[in-house]
Structure formats: C-alpha cells, structure tokens
Amino acid sequence: MKITREDVEYVANLAHLKISEDEQDAFVSDMENIISFADILSGVDTGDVEPTFHALELENVLREDVVTNDYDRDDLLKNAPSKHNGCFEVPKVVE
C-alpha cells in the first residue's frame, strides 16, 4: 500500500502526534515499508475464517459489585504535571 503525506497527516492527527516537516518524509517511507511488509497478508485465504482476538477464549471474568477502593487522593494526584484543588488541570477546554 502506498502511503502518502496526507495519510501520515491523517494518522498523526488521530494519534495526537505532532510530526514536524522534516520528519514527514521519514514517516512516509517507514510506514510504507512496514505496511508493505504487512501487505503479504492479503495473499492469505481467510474466506470463512473468524478473527481471533485472544489466543485463549476466556469468558465471564467478572467482579462482584463491592467497593474496594482505598487510595489516597494525594497519591492519585502526585504524578500530575499540573493540578489544582484536588483536580488535574489542563488549558482551557473550549466546548
């Protein structure tokens, strides 16, 4: 699959990654190499094959509805780059 600059821009936007001008071409060619490498998959006949999302088919791993939280808010917030009044903080969100 040919990868274009537009593809890279589109994907970078979805992934919230800033790609600078000078990185653009490298990403185009790297992605193209990797995607082309994966294009071999199109040759596999998967007509009636269901996808496998997990090697092990586990089911119904559920927890009881019982409160178990015992964390201190200071701990929860201590790694935050910016916080205020017990909250995490970001620049103004325009809704």
């Binding site: 936007n13 586990l58 089911e59 927890r63 009881e64 939280n69 808010r73 909250c87």
Partner: protein
C-alpha cells in the same frame, strides 16, 4: 407542504451499581473531586479493567423489561478518541455485540398505542467531568464519575413528535426505576439523551438529512430541542435550503441549537475489541433468573390500576410513570385509602405543590397512611373537599395525622342538622329579594343563597346537607 418529523433517541442511563464498571471505586455524586478514583479508573500505566457483574445483570434486566433479545456472546470494544475527561483515551463500549437487541416500548399517544422499537442496549463507561474554574484560564478534571457504568439505549427512528419523545422518555425512566437498574436522577445527569432528528414531506419514504443534538439532560430540554430543531429543519427546507448533516449543540437558556463546526474533528473512533477483556456469555439460566427478578412493570401496573381501581388510562399512566408515586399510591390503598380519590389527590393538589416547590415525588414529606386517612375523612363527611386541600397544604408544612390537623385547624365539617337549619333560616330571613327571585323561577338565586349559607357556617357546613335543607325551607315558603 406538510412535513413529518422523524426522531431517534440515544439514551444514556447510569446504572445504580455500588461500584464503577471496571474497578472497585464507589459510584458517587457530589463528593470532593477525585476521591472515588483509583489507578484503574485514572488509567495509570499497567492497570487493567475487570467488569462489574452487576452492571451486566442490570443491562440485561433493562433489556428484558424492554422486550429485547439478549446477546449470548458479546465482547467489549474500545472507542478511541482523545479528550481530557477520558483517561485511557478510549471508552470501553460495545460496537457490534450489544448485550440487548430488538426491543420495544409501547406508548399511548392520545387514544392510540404506538410501538417504539429499540435497536439496541449496550454497556459502556461514563467519562469524568470538566470544571471550568481552574487557575487563570485552566480547566480542571474530576474523575469521580469516570468509569461509572452506563447503558446506552438506541431507538429506531420511530418517534414522530416531541410529545411522543416525551412519552417514550417517561416510559424508559419508569422501566429503569421499576427494575432498580437506574435511579434516573436527571438533575444529577444520571439520565441523558442524544436526539437524532430529520424531517420529510408527509408521505415520503426516504428519510431527510438528520442532525444530532448531544447530551440533553432533562426531558424538558429534549422536548424543546426537538420542537426547535424540527421547526428549523422545516423552515430551512421551505426556503429552499438544505440541511447539513452535523452535530449541533442545544443551548437551553437561549432555546436555540447551533452548529458545532470547528469542534468537528475527524470522527474515526478506530473501534476494536478490547484485548484486556474477555467474552461475556449469557446462559439460559441467567436469563431466566433475571427474568424472575423483574418486578411488575409500569405497563402491567397501569392495566391493573384501570381494571382494579377504575382509574382512567390517563391517570393510571401518570401514576405508574413514577415508581415512587405508584408505590405510594398502592401503600395508600393498602392503608384503606379510596383509590380514585387518592389518585386525584396525587395527580392534583399534591403534584401541584411538588411542582411549585420543585420537589420530586420521592420528596413527599408525609406518608401514604396520611393520604389514606385524608380520603377517608372526606368520604365520611368529616371534612369537605375544600378543607381537604387545606389538609394537604398542612401535610407539606408539618406532616402529621390528618385528624389532628382537622382538629387543630378547626376544619371539621358541620353536619349537625339543627345548627345548619338555624343558619339556613337566618339566610332566608336576611335575603327576601333572593327568596322571591327563586320563587319566581330564577335558579340563579338558589346558588346565591347556598353561598350565603356556606359563608354563614364559615365554610364548614356540609354543602350537600345545606343544599337539601335550603331547598326544603324554601319549598315551605
């Protein structure tokens, strides 16, 4: 040209579980920010989700109560997008295997029963809350709500008016309350809805272009938004314009919707099955167990109220739409209250006062027994209906036995024939003109005389008795 409005709803209801969807944090409202959080619901590195069993059961119950088929093998999918209130930068939801599919709710529009089909009900987690009161120009994030279990109920585009939407939402709310699946506290945002709306010329088979309005958090604003948006579509088309497919924001204060252009980023959610979670399989045994746990649902209760208590369809609907009201009503009847009268009080004066004080039925301060007693003392003539209104007012101020209120406030009706006759005779004597008018065949004069006797008894005279006595005395003249 005449137009038809086509509406589909997506309703998000918070489930009344004790804990969040994927961690053991308490679900809560109105606490200090970020108290009910843990590494899992803050998406700390290395943490993993484990599904709340109760949330699955609640979702299935809701589905069963809405006539859905239950999906026997479902998965959970990641919906990927960045937003500060979404800590993992994906919401765990269900894409193509919702727990419940193909259900319906019947609503009564006028005299007609109309079926609104439900496309699906799936489980997903709620996001945190943004508070726009940071230092300077910042936004703060509180993740207490983050990870709260939700069901999303998606209808087919079967709704045709704001009124139908309101009736449908009321039914949904009632069913969720009856089944204890959600407490539906709208004011706390535990029931929210997105509206998809389009219009088309009457008789057309193709749908018009639809717009979407998100996060309407009261029935009132949903109804207003639908009315506004449907009108906007029709006007646009009438003037030869075109409707743009878009998400619009409803401004409840201004009563208008507006386009959210600019915010509209590429909506490519890259859904895929969440590899941290496993299949949800639902057995026959589980379905029959949950079915057995279902209470009598609003529809069934309504039918019973009509048949057993002779309530009108309208009154029965009004009462059964609120689980609390219906339970209150039943307890009242069980305490010996007169069913029809109790219903009238609940939907009349009591509803009016609740409305004035912006209270929910669950905030009624007196007991069903109080209301039962009120209907009894009116029924046996102890007090008049008018005095009854005073008793209700008093019950809201200081709830206590109606007998005591009647005594304290001196509301008892005078049914003593001798005392009443005295007043009747006095009135006849004092109003010769009216008496002769009556005698001359002017029926209106009787009304005046009755009024005068009521006044003479300070409103406490038994009106029926007064009427009879007055007629008897006048006939003697």
């Amino acid at each position: 040209m005449k137009y038809e409005t086509v509406i589909g709803l997506e309703i998000h209801a918070e489930l009344s579980t004790a804990t969040k969807m994927y961690c053991g944090c308490a679900t809560s409202f109105g606490s200090e920010p970020n108290i009910h959080c843990c590494p899992v619901c803050l998406a700390m590195p290395g943490t993993l989700p484990v599904l709340n069993k109760k949330a699955v059961e609640f979702a299935i119950k809701a589905g069963l109560a809405m006539g859905c088929s239950i999906t026997r093998k479902g998965k959970q999918d990641r919906k990927n997008y960045f937003y500060p209130d979404l800590p993992k930068a994906y919401q765990i939801s269900q894409l193509d295997t919702p727990l419940c599919v193909n259900g319906h709710i019947d609503i009564t529009v006028g005299d007609e029963v109309k079926r609104i089909r439900i496309n699906r009900i799936h489980i997903e987690e709620d996001a945190g809350k943004l508070l726009h009161e940071g230092v300077g120009s910042g936004t703060l994030i509180d993740f207490n709500r983050g990870g709260t279990p939700l069901i999303e109920i998606v209808t087919e585009p079967d709704i045709r008016s704001a009124e139908e939407a309101r009736l449908f939402l009321e039914s949904v709310k009632a069913i969720l309350e009856y089944t204890d699946v959600s407490d539906c506290r709208m004011e706390q945002g535990s029931l929210r809805c997105d509206v998809n709306i389009s219009v088309r010329p009457e008789g057309a088979t193709e749908y018009g272009t639809r717009t979407e309005m998100k996060n309407l958090n009261s029935f009132r604003s949903a109804v207003r938004a639908i009315e506004y948006e449907s009108k906007r579509h029709i006007e646009e088309l009438e003037y030869g314009g075109v409707i743009k497919r878009e998400t619009r924001r409803w401004d409840d204060d201004k009563g208008v919707s507006y386009s959210m252009r600019g915010k509209e980023e590429a909506q490519d959610y890259r859904y895929f099955p969440d590899p941290d979670l496993v299949w949800i399989t639902v057995s026959d045994e589980m379905i029959s167990r949950l079915k057995a746990e279902l209470p009598e649902l609003p529809e069934a209760r309504k039918a019973r109220y009509i048949n057993e208590y002779g309530l009108t369809a309208y009154d029965a609907t009004q009462i059964t739409n609120s689980k609390f009201l219906a339970d209150f009503f039943e307890k009242c009847v069980a305490c010996g209250g007169a069913a029809k009268a109790a219903g009238n009080w609940l939907l009349g004066d009591i509803a009016k006062i609740l409305n004035e004080k912006s209270l929910e039925p669950s905030q009624i301060p007196f007991t069903p027994a109080h209301l039962a007693r009120l209907t009894q003392i009116i029924d046996d003539g102890t007090i008049s209906n008018t005095a009854g209104k005073k008793v209700v007012e008093e019950l809201f101020i200081n709830p206590r036995d109606p007998d005591i209120i009647v005594k304290e406030k001196n509301l008892a009706q005078i049914s003593d024939k001798g005392a009443l006759l005295k007043s009747v005779r006095e009135v006849i004597e004092a109003n010769p003109q009216s008496v002769s008018d009556y005698k001359a065949g002017k029926e209106k004069a009787l009304g005046f005389l009755v009024g005068q006797t009521m006044r003479a008894t300070k409103g406490q005279g038994n009106p029926q008795l007064l009427n009879t006595l007055l007629k008897e005395e006048l006939d003697k003249i």
